[in-house]
Structures are given as C-alpha cells and as structure tokens.
C-alpha cells in the first residue's frame, strides 16, 4: 500500500511538472515565426533565381509581421498564419503576403497568396518545377529563446 502511494505521488508530481511546463512555453510563437520565415524566404528567393540560371540575388527583408489565424488572442500554436513581408531586391522595394501553414513539429509550408502555383524551368535539367520563391518549406527551433507571442 505504501509502495502504491509512492508510485501515485510520483506520477501526480510528474504530471504537475509536465502540465506546468507546457502551460507557459508554446512551441509555435510569433517570435519564432517572424524570425524564421523572412530568412527562409530570402534563401528561397535566391534559390529560385539560381535554379533559373540567373544571378542568385538574396533580397533584403526590411519588415515582417506575422499573426496566427487560429489563436488570434495570443499569436501562438500551429495552424494557419499570415505573414506580410517588405523587402528590397536590386534596389526595388517590394511586398509579399504569405500564407504559412505550421505543423506540430515546428515546420511550415509558406505560399504566396497571390501566385502560389507559379512554375519555373530548371536551367540545368529543363524540368518544370514549382517556384521556391512563391512556395517554400522551413522549420524553426522550438527550444530557442524567442518565446514572445502577441504584441498587437
């Protein structure tokens, strides 16, 4: 009986720790999304140019604002997010709106809401490919210190 009580107490204590820990640190936060999406967009843009045989230009993302469509109160949790990016490339200022679908593993698919089906021709193979510039995947570190959520 004493042994059973010990096991129960340990289980309850462990459960409390798990619940307590999970209550304050969501994996998907606005800080992580706003840090990762612009960097990956810049890489995907350069990759798109490179695959087409152009000079690989990396855009300079000047501003990013992302919000969750699922948890509008706190800007956290996986699901659908919207990101508005402003960037300059070759001296020209441009904007792009991305629909970002985030999964529970901290990975996402981002697509340009205006032109998500654009295709490019791979200069080296001649194959038709989805343009990485308008649709790309990425992942963020769910253990980093960018735990800030909404500051709207």
């Amino acid at each position: 009986m004493r042994h059973l009580r010990k096991v129960l107490a340990t289980t309850v204590a462990l459960g409390a720790v798990v619940v307590g820990a999970s209550a304050c640190t969501p994996d998907t936060t606005r800080g992580r999304v706003e840090n990762d999406v612009p960097a990956t967009f810049a890489h995907a843009y350069a990759l798109s140019e490179q695959l087409q045989g152009h000079r690989p230009v990396t855009p300079d993302v000047t501003s990013t604002e992302c919000h969750s469509s699922v948890n509008t109160k706190q800007d956290s949790q996986p699901g659908s997010w919207g990101c508005d990016l402003s960037y300059t490339v070759d001296g020209k200022k441009k904007d792009v709106s991305l629909l970002v679908l985030i999964d529970q593993l901290g990975c996402y698919q981002a697509s340009n809401t205006d032109n998500r089906n654009a295709m490019i021709t791979d200069a080296s193979t001649g194959a038709q490919l989805p343009d990485p510039k308008v649709g790309f995947d990425g992942c963020f570190d769910v253990y980093d210190n960018r735990t800030n959520t909404s500051n709207r």
């Binding site: 901290g106 990975c107 698919q109 790309f136 992942c139 570190d141 253990y143």
Partner: protein, 290 residues
C-alpha cells in the same frame, strides 16, 4: 576407494565445460534473424520501394508538395532519401523495430526451447544480451540499408544536383551533401533503438510473438496520433517519435542541435527503462515449463 575414483573422474569434466558468451549468442541469433524468409521478403520490399517511388514521381506532373522535400524531388536526387525519411519516421520505423525485435524472446517460448538453451552452457545474461544486440544490429542495419537504397535511387534516377537544406540553401559539394543525408538518417537511430527496446520488453513480458510485434506498433501509433494533436507541447517532446524529427534542425540554416541532444536523452530513458524491465523479468523467470 570408489569415492576417490568418482571424484577424479568428475573433476576433468567440470573444468572442460566451456561457457558460451553473449558474442556466441549474438552470432547465432543474427544468423537466425537473417535466415528467416519473412525478414528477407520485408527487407527486399523496403529496399526496392524507394526506387519504385522516385520512378513514379518522375513519370507524373504533380509533386508531393505537402511533404518536406517533396517539392525538390525533381530538382535533386538528394531529395529522395529525405522524403523517404520524412514518411518513414511517421509510421515505418516503429513498425520495422517491432517486426524484427518483437518476437526475438517470445519465439523461444512458442517453440519451448528456453529450457534447452539455458540448461546448456549459456548463462541467462549471455542469452539476454546476445539476443538484444542481434535485434538492435538487425534493426539498425535494415534502416541504414533503406537509407542507402533511397540515396542511390535518387542519384541514379534524378542526379547529383546540389542538395538543398531545410533552410533552402544549396550545398554545392556532393561529399557534403552525402554527409548531410547520412547525418539525418543516423540521427533517427537512438529513437529507433528505443522502439526496438520496447518491442523486446513486451516480448519478454508477454511471451507472445503477436503481442510483441503488435503492442509496440500500437504504442508508436498512439504517440504519432498525439504528435498530430494540438495538445501539450511538453508531452509531445517526451514521446519517442519526437526525436525522429530532430534531423530537421541539423539540416537547417543556421543549424541547431538542441532537439537532437534532448532527443538523445529521451531515447536513452526509453531504452534504459525497457531493457531494465526486460532483463529483470528474464533473469527471474521460471523456465521449468520450457
């Protein structure tokens, strides 16, 4: 006089007895595993599957865009092993671990051969660790072989164009690209060993081959279903399926190893707990009935 004679006759027999170690049991068990028709058939199917997959992808217009690396299947041959890895971590790896390790102990119960083995010159410890090592080596070997097959399939069917990282940067060096693919596949081995250990634990506890295979698969399914839920993140991090995705951080730009390092701890805990329970039960069990 008779007593002395008996004693002198008995002594040489005792010293001549050799005790087979875990290495001998490992060799026998590995040969048994590799000699099974079902193991050979399943291994062949799993090794051929990536080739069929990439050939089918190349003959259609659509790409599996919803899968990480799916959009790059026609861009670089290095995407093939990555897509296979993404799919395999969800369902296939727990199944492989259970299939190989789930009946390595219980099959002896089914055939009633424990009594024969353990009353010969093999200790229980040697039998236990020999079987555990053989099951782990066979499981790990099959997974590495699938990775190698998928990589060769991609390189042959698509080509060795530069690898693209999770962060969408090109890796021009082929040797570096092969290293990154190998790194990602090797990073799933700790949780894979965890699943294999659970399978062996169930095999020892239930003495039933069907349960030894089915229970770990069900555990893997339940874990995977929780991974899809929008539930407590900390619980998800403690499940054995979580470290199977740690390679995404290793291949990102900039890369981060925290998920992998934490995953190592999680996998080590599952492995240690499962094998300790299995060892204690196996060590104490009564084998009088076979």
């Amino acid at each position: 006089m008779t007593t002395t004679s008996a004693a002198t006759t008995r002594t040489p027999i005792t010293t001549a007895r050799t005790t087979a170690g875990a290495g001998t049991v490992f060799g026998v068990e590995l040969r048994k595993l590799l000699g099974q028709t079902r193991t050979r058939v399943v291994a062949t199917v799993l090794l051929v599957a990536p080739w069929i997959f990439i050939l089918l992808v190349l003959h259609q217009d659509q790409l599996p865009l919803e899968t990480l690396y799916g959009r790059y299947l026609k861009t670089t041959g290095f995407a093939t092993p990555m897509v296979v890895l993404v799919t395999a971590t969800q369902w296939l790896f727990p199944l492989i671990a259970a299939f190989i390790s789930g009946d390595i102990f219980s099959s002896e119960d089914n055939y009633g051969t424990y009594k024969t083995i353990l009353t010969r010159s093999v200790s229980r410890r040697a039998v236990f660790w020999g079987k555990v090592t053989a099951a782990l080596v066979a499981t790990v070997g099959l997974v590495i072989a699938i990775g190698a097959s998928a990589l060769i399939a991609g390189l042959v069917a698509v080509g060795d164009q530069p690898f693209i990282t999770v962060g969408n940067l090109e890796v021009p060096s082929t040797a570096h690209a092969i290293g990154m693919v190998a790194e990602s596949w090797l990073s799933v081995l700790p949780p894979l060993i965890g699943f294999a250990s659970i399978a062996m634990c169930v095999s020892v506890l239930t003495r039933n081959s069907v349960l030894g295979v089915v229970v770990p698969v069900v555990i893997g399914l339940v874990f995977q279903m929780y991974m899809f839920l929008n539930a407590w993140d900390t619980v998800r991090h403690a499940l054995l399926n979580w470290p199977m995705n740690a390679w995404r951080g290793l291949l990102d730009d900039p890369s981060y190893a925290e998920p992998f390092l934490r995953g190592l701890v999680v996998s080590a805990i599952y492995t240690a707990v499962a094998l300790t329970i299995a060892y204690v039960v196996f060590h104490r069990r009564d084998i009088q009935e076979g």
